[in-house]
């Protein structure tokens, strides 16, 4: 991808994209901080915001856009806090919905809090106008495709199987009961304190995320949680545990782990296994994740219950403190450590990414982990009827996880795709299919996990049309692929080697440390023995993070 025309500007583009998030984050921060009364509270709030690993990871490392709709919600809260009419609160809450759907949860609150028929009617109108004004043209024009993301593969991939079903059921019950309690309070309370709406928002998002999803979803909750962490030391401890467990339990794919650094060196960083690849290999049952999710659920539910108690005038389960009048000159220094740690870690990894340094470790990393970060320049090759292209690819570990072809555009004619291994001169077929993708979309063939004994794989593409030549988009063979040869089999000339070209195939293997599984203890020792270099880097980074957490905790306790 970064070798395509225009990709020289990759860092500028990524910076500009994230600049948009920064603008909306600034709006959200300004709106929330202006609702705090004392300078001390503002200082603490800013410190929590600046040191939040959730915000840093979710918004800037990861690049998720949820902060934009959070900014709309914060504008609504700002207006509410400064005496704005409920109709405008409803308007800005509603404006967040056509961005992502989760703010739908908040729409009833301005309506329920409005007093009298006139004010309620205004809220309804100001809430419905942006919703209908934006959605109706799309529903009319493209039917219900505007809601397709709810049921698409993007949505259904997210929570499958990371926890016990009974935890999910408990979570749903807690969400329904808690949300009902919020709505009941909003409709019956005569409390005019503007902070009450912030509490509704905070509790609603606590309930929404009480069965944890992906880490970047917690960007939705984090800004509001800071408002309530300021004067509550137990909450700070609870949320610290939740953050650690989230990264332990929900950090999943390689793209969300070291793969985040792919813009620096896509082949290298996308070759690292994901955090879950490592932990699930050591604990194949997945119970470590299930327990972490359960603990997060218990802590979130406990905080929700405590907040609902406070809402209904009961005593909090936890002892609060008033930081507003505190004279302790706590000055957070953690922000200063973040850049130092990040730059040191990245510098270390970049040194490790030099071919001379990491060559010995190569078989232990995933090979060509993801195709989309690395796409060398292409050239079209005219494949005549009956001719075939055969790609030879060398594996490093032989434990094939996935292989396939990705042409980006549909080929304009029928082809036969064969993928096979070879053992002692005998072909071992893995995949064979005749396809005609004309007018259908990009072509792909995928093989499921297999062991290839002699570590050589062949991918053969034959033009099966009777008289049409096909334009096959080949890639330039990179230095990393120098051993992968491509041959043309023509009817009259036999086999011809095509220099400096490869078929657009992608190949993923499991690293060596995932093989030879026996007992868990043996596997840990074996993994540690084989991965000592990787473990050393990882241990160094986690130790630095852990020491920083301890130091931060000590600072908090001193205050």
């Amino acid at each position: 991808m970064f070798t395509l025309p225009g990709s020289d500007e990759k860092f500028l583009v990524i910076f500009l994209w994230k600049l948009l998030y920064l603008i909306f984050e600034g709006i959200a921060f300004f709106c929330l901080v202006s609702t705090l009364s004392s300078e001390r509270e503002k200082e603490w709030f800013a410190a929590f915001w600046a040191t939040s690993i959730i915000l840093l990871y979710g918004i800037y490392w990861f690049g998720q856009s949820g902060v934009i709709c959070i900014a709309f919600i914060c504008i609504g809260l700002y207006l509410n806090h400064h005496g704005g009419a409920k109709k405008w609160v409803g308007f800005f809450f509603a404006l967040a919905v056509p961005f992502k759907l989760f703010p739908l949860l908040l729409l009833p609150f301005p309506f329920l809090m409005a007093r009298g028929i006139r004010e309620k009617s205004e809220v309804v109108i100001f809430t419905l106008v942006p919703l209908l004004g934006i959605y109706v043209p799309f529903v009319a024009h493209s039917n219900n495709l505007v809601f397709a993301i709810i049921n698409s593969g993007f949505a259904t991939d997210q929570v499958g199987g990371i926890t016990w079903n009974w935890v999910l059921i408990l979570g749903k019950l807690a969400q329904v009961a808690g949300y009902f309690a919020l709505c009941w309070h909003a409709s019956s309370s005569r409390d005019e304190n503007p902070k009450i709406l912030m509490r509704y928002v905070f509790i609603a998002f606590l309930l929404l995320l009480c069965t944890p999803r992906k880490i970047h979803y917690f960007v939705w909750l984090a800004p509001f949680s800071f408002l309530f962490l300021i004067n509550n030391k137990p909450y700070r401890r609870i949320f610290s545990v939740i953050v650690v467990l989230l990264f332990f339990a929900v950090l999943s794919t390689k793209q969300t782990f070291f793969g985040l650094l792919a813009p620096l060196n896509s082949d290298f960083f996308m070759s690292f296994p994901g955090w879950m690849d490592i932990t699930y290999r050591l604990i194949p049952s997945g119970n470590h994740v299930k327990f972490a999710v359960l603990i997060v659920f218990i802590l979130m539910a406990l905080t929700s219950v405590d907040q609902i108690f406070i809402l209904y005038g009961k005593n909090s389960i936890f002892k609060s403190e008033n930081i507003g009048n505190s004279k302790n000159p706590w000055r957070p220094k953690v922000p200063l450590w973040f850049p130092v740690m990040i730059i040191s870690g990245v510098a270390g990894l970049l040194v490790f990414s030099l071919p001379q340094v990491y060559e010995p470790a190569k078989p232990y990393l995933f090979i060509r982990g993801d195709s989309q970060w690395y796409r060398p320049s292409k050239k079209d090759f005219d494949l005549l009827p009956g001719e075939a292209l055969e790609q030879k690819a060398f594996l490093r570990t032989g434990e094939l996880r996935r292989v396939g072809l990705n042409f980006l555009k549909p080929l304009k004619g029928p082809v036969k795709i064969e993928i096979y291994g070879e053992n002692g001169g005998t072909k071992i077929p893995l995949y064979e299919k005749e396809l005609n993708q004309e007018g259908k979309g990009p072509l792909m063939a995928v093989v499921t996990p297999r062991d290839i004994e002699n570590k050589i794989l062949f991918i053969k593409l034959t033009n099966t049309s009777l008289n049409e030549k096909l334009a096959i988009p080949l890639r330039t063979r990179s230095l990393r692929q120098k051993e992968n040869s491509l041959a043309l089999y023509s009817v009259d000339q036999g086999k011809t080697d095509l220099e400096e070209a490869v078929l657009p195939f992608f190949l993923i293997e499991n690293p060596l440390f995932t093989q030879n599984r026996s007992t868990p203890a043996h596997e840990i020792l074996n993994s540690a023995r084989q991965e000592w270099g990787f473990m050393a880097v990882w241990l160094l980074l986690t130790t630095a993070c852990f020491l920083n957490v301890l130091r931060n905790r000590k600072l908090c306790e001193e205050t």
Partner: protein, 82 residues
Amino acid sequence: MPFTAHTDLFFNFAYPSLLWGEGVMDPYLFMDEYYSRKDYIGFYGPLAYFIAGMWSGLVQWIVGSEYQIWMHEIIDTVGFFN
């Protein structure tokens, strides 16, 4: 943090680049007509498309017209995420 990125970042901005680049006002219909794999059709709400789309116009203005070529390559790769 310009040296880190997740593929979701490209998802967030690749489709909206069509707003300025090709004048696509309805990304949902565009996806329906463009892709053969219907199970991966979908984008956030219309406002996400228009906000990121307007911003993409600015990015394109700064980076140059090749930004569009790059974004279209990314649109073509959707469905091939691991």
